[in-house]
Amino acid sequence: MERKIRVPLSAEDARSLRAGDYVYLTGTVYTARDAAHKRMAEALSRGEELPVDPDGNVIYYMGPSPAREGRAIGSAGPTTASRMDRYAPQLLDLGLRGMIGKGKRSQAVKDAIVRNGAVYFAAVGGAGALLSHCIRSSEVVAYEDLGTEAIRRLEIEDFPVIVVADCEGNDLYLSAPAKYNEEK
């Protein structure tokens, strides 16, 4: 099914998405990858507030290449999500409603998605030039010293993603390959 959805995600929208849905996202998302997640986890363990409240938000696992003059951003495709698996359940329990990345998630993350009515989307890996066309603006909002790994606020428009893991526990990375598997 093809759908257009606003981000941040409403609880109803998140719960209505099913693995395999092709979705165009419009609105605001935040980027964070390895180093930013590590810092956020450290902040939480010290009892500090996060630079961005995860509640209802979507994190895009992405570190862009530098923007040429006059452009909002450089190449901007997803990075491998499993490296954030160690941090994701805690953020999901704090209300994080969606993640955009590529690649498999751990069972603990999928359980946290079910528990919180969240969703994991895949964007096409290695299509950073194409995806950059769907990003209208980009602004660093925290951890600027991390360079490409800083947290950025992105305004996106009709950003194409596919639902991989949904709140019913479905996982497209398991079900879709099984359909085409021809190994005896």
């Binding site: 895949a122 194409l130 879709a176 021809e182």
Partner: protein, 280 residues
Amino acid sequence: MRTVSTDLIRDAVAELCIEANHFLSEDMREALQAAEESEVSPLGKRVLGQLQENLRIAGEEMIPICQDTGMAVVFAEIGQDVHLEGELLETAVNEGVRKGYTEGFLRKSVVGDPLERTNTGDNTPCVLHTRIVPGDHVRLTVAPKGFGSENMSRIFMLKPADGEEGVKEAVLQAVRDAGPNACPPMVVGVGIGGTFEKCALLAKQALLRPADSHAEDPRYRAMEEELLRRINQSGIGPGGLGGRVTAMTVHILTYPTHIAGLPVAVNICCHVHRHASKEQ
């Protein structure tokens, strides 16, 4: 004896970093096109179409094909009759990488210490492999390597008794484990033989063979074909979203090894299989 200035080498490396990150070689573009034509999964076909559209945008608007512009792997083949004049070769090559990544708006993805992890800010150092070859020219190849696929690469120290079946199983295992993480459709480089580090280097060099090339030895050519067929039976498909094109090509390079061992390295590369070369 021919003299080659390391300034030329620096500038060539800079150009190659920018070229490789914006344009794929003709053989890779053809392989992607062929993949789209043969894919049966509608979603897989759609992804392959997007990848080609992505290549078009990258080249026309000078936006890197992928935001992970890689750690630069540089191969320098230096003719035995070349005299290098100027800086130390390694310094010149790293200056080239710095220049290419800075002036070319490429992402800086290298951290200085693997545990302390502070970004070096200019994507240096690169990984430099040098080889002395006949002649009086210097041939440079820059192959930026993204880590989505590099992280899924494996080394297996098999036993001689594992034989050909063991090698095939190892390759298939690595590809299955990689799945969607390595941004399929992949290019699979396999090194068989040598020592621990030699087979890894062979696997990396195997990636650099043209996409439509085959192993010279008929036994390994047959193995490449069988592995490609079996990988594509896995159903992983483009983007790992299901389909018949999980790999576009499998390349094997071999080297003599020890009576007690059968090292196998599997270097997985994503569809953004970048390399550019220049002779000086």
